[in-house]
Subunit: 412 residues, 2 copies
Amino acid sequence: MRQSRLFTRTKKTAPKDEVSKNAELLIRAGFVHKEMAGVYDYLPLGLRTLNKIIGIIREEMNGLGAEELLMSSLQRPDVWKATDRWDSEKVDVWFKTTLQSGSELGLALTHEDPLTDLMRSFVSSYRDLPFSVYQFQTKFRNEMRAKSGIMRGREFIMKDLYSFARTEAELDAFYEEAALAYERIFARVGLGEETYKTFASGGIFSKYSHEFQTLCEAGEDIIYVDEEKRIAINEEVFTDEVLQELGLDKEKLVQKKAVEVGNIFKLGTRFSEPLSLTYKDEQGKDQMVIMGSYGIGPGRVMGAIVETHADDNGLVWPEAVAPFRVHLLSLGADEKATEIYEALEKAGIEVLYDDREASAGEKFADADLLGIPYRVVIGKRSQESGHAEVKKRTESAAQEVALESLVSYFQS
Amino acid sequence: MRQSRLFTRTKKTAPKDEVSKNAELLIRAGFVHKEMAGVYDYLPLGLRTLNKIIGIIREEMNGLGAEELLMSSLQRPDVWKATDRWDSEKVDVWFKTTLQSGSELGLALTHEDPLTDLMRSFVSSYRDLPFSVYQFQTKFRNEMRAKSGIMRGREFIMKDLYSFARTEAELDAFYEEAALAYERIFARVGLGEETYKTFASGGIFSKYSHEFQTLCEAGEDIIYVDEEKRIAINEEVFTDEVLQELGLDKEKLVQKKAVEVGNIFKLGTRFSEPLSLTYKDEQGKDQMVIMGSYGIGPGRVMGAIVETHADDNGLVWPEAVAPFRVHLLSLGADEKATEIYEALEKAGIEVLYDDREASAGEKFADADLLGIPYRVVIGKRSQESGHAEVKKRTESAAQEVALESLVSYFQS
């Protein structure tokens, strides 16, 4: 894409009320626009990045055999009353609204309740199970404080996956598969090293749930990390009893700030019981469906990548999630640069081409701020030398690459 | 995909309160689930269809050079007050909600107002114009009546495109391009013949706007069609003066029911003026940005396709939007059918494989209800004859195709 055609431009400053590093950088780079605390618009570069993250998650969900659907935000109270989650005393982040008829509706903050209700239309026999479904869907949460940029939204896209099984063993097997898929997701988006599978409190059905926590100074959670064993435990289960049970040595645990980028939870019959989601077993006897739920916020992942990867000069995107792979800068050599741009595009390499009338200093600063993995500079010198300067965003040294080898350089 | 793995199944009946044909069929076929009047969940087959429609629209938007973004649903009142659209007396389909702090918020029913406000961050010079942006985003409208299934949602995905120009001539040029893109979209999704570009009332800025109206008994609009000239006019501008101006003969106009599947509108300075979206021209003088807006509801398009194409036996999908291209039925010949299924999948042909243990009658009835364009039957006879029975959903006669030619039959 030609940068001159992009309506966004970089800014020297972010709004004064913006206190989070991820939002500040994303706003300055033109990736997002702030509507209010906890509510951001995704602009073209930001949406490209978000969609890369969503694409990776979707691949892993499909790999689990889960089926994609898309549920509504508007929620009827009755299902949530059945599970005792409608009352704002019980769930304190509801946004509610009203139909013209006067009936109250909720805006979905998650979907266990309506989805369990929906499945009553489709599950009746043991032959219908097990299966799993997922969606990328906009959640609304009426957070009292929303100061972590796109890491804690009042409105945000969530990937929520739900599993439906006949037995605990079936649930456990899927849960382990989902945990592995989550590890692959965080590795693929570039958060593998910083992200710990973390023991957290479970529910009635299972002693623990698991969070995926990314170490990060801006995180709102405290976890205790065993770096050798690569596991962690959440503050809420940090007791001697739990440490003993998990075979962890208190001395080896390091206290860290972290952001929860994913969580997986064995729901058991928490929702199938109040909503009567049952199946007939092989003996024709009614049994409760056993459920699990598994969440990742792609926006929060994007925010965590910014927080953990950015440097003093701006954003730094891992290749798999970058809005473009190559940032091509023309410094007074538009003809040659355009030729290279067209060749790279033709080869299917995603290029942002800085064809703007701007100074070299401005173009270099913007390239750093935008954080695209490879910067390729075509200057007047290139025409004589026949070389372009290629520099990784994560490295300070550049290298010379022959113009005619550029396409194959990025294809390999 | 193997049908045995699909959690949905067909139903004999839809909910009793469902009065629309599109929703009734889509619910019976397992494409959507009704949460309440005007609020539907998209289940796997429905989401695939919706995404096909979205994909076609996105291609055409990109073809216009428009940039994709994604704005928030939660809306601050101030921008809407500036344009005099916050008051429920002025705009009567608002859903409103409240932050914990007590501040009132709106749920976006469209995005002219916040988008115009956003662009103040990016537009300052004549060099920044013209450009256009679009999104696929969930709108909320508190409709008093919502009886048209997915054709009139209280919550629905809308593709909204907005153009920003310096002059009326620039707006006009883009408007004409957008109109052509819309015609291509309706042709590609299979509504070309039934859809008329329809003159409707404009605003202060332009005498007319245009709607794209699909002839359909379930439509809520009345239009007057000149079938020869392939144009129509909306009831609201059906006056002698307008007829004369457009050179239409009252005698030749036929009154029809129709559903508005798209609309395009020259906004002029309706929003840039109250929200102060200006640019400096070449003389350094402030000028108002001239805007246009262009909407299509992919869900409404899907509903209109159902209404116009379905027959007594069920849904009928045009190939470009069908959830799968081929519905492969195994009638007691699982081994051979599985072999064919794998070969088709490998060739990149989208197949729904009915590998369920079900009677032939059930499989045929379900295939008709689901409406996938090609039905391929592999029965016991196929093993002897070496042929499969291939039937188009729109035709009654089947033809025999040699098993070894099936892949190339669908590749051509």
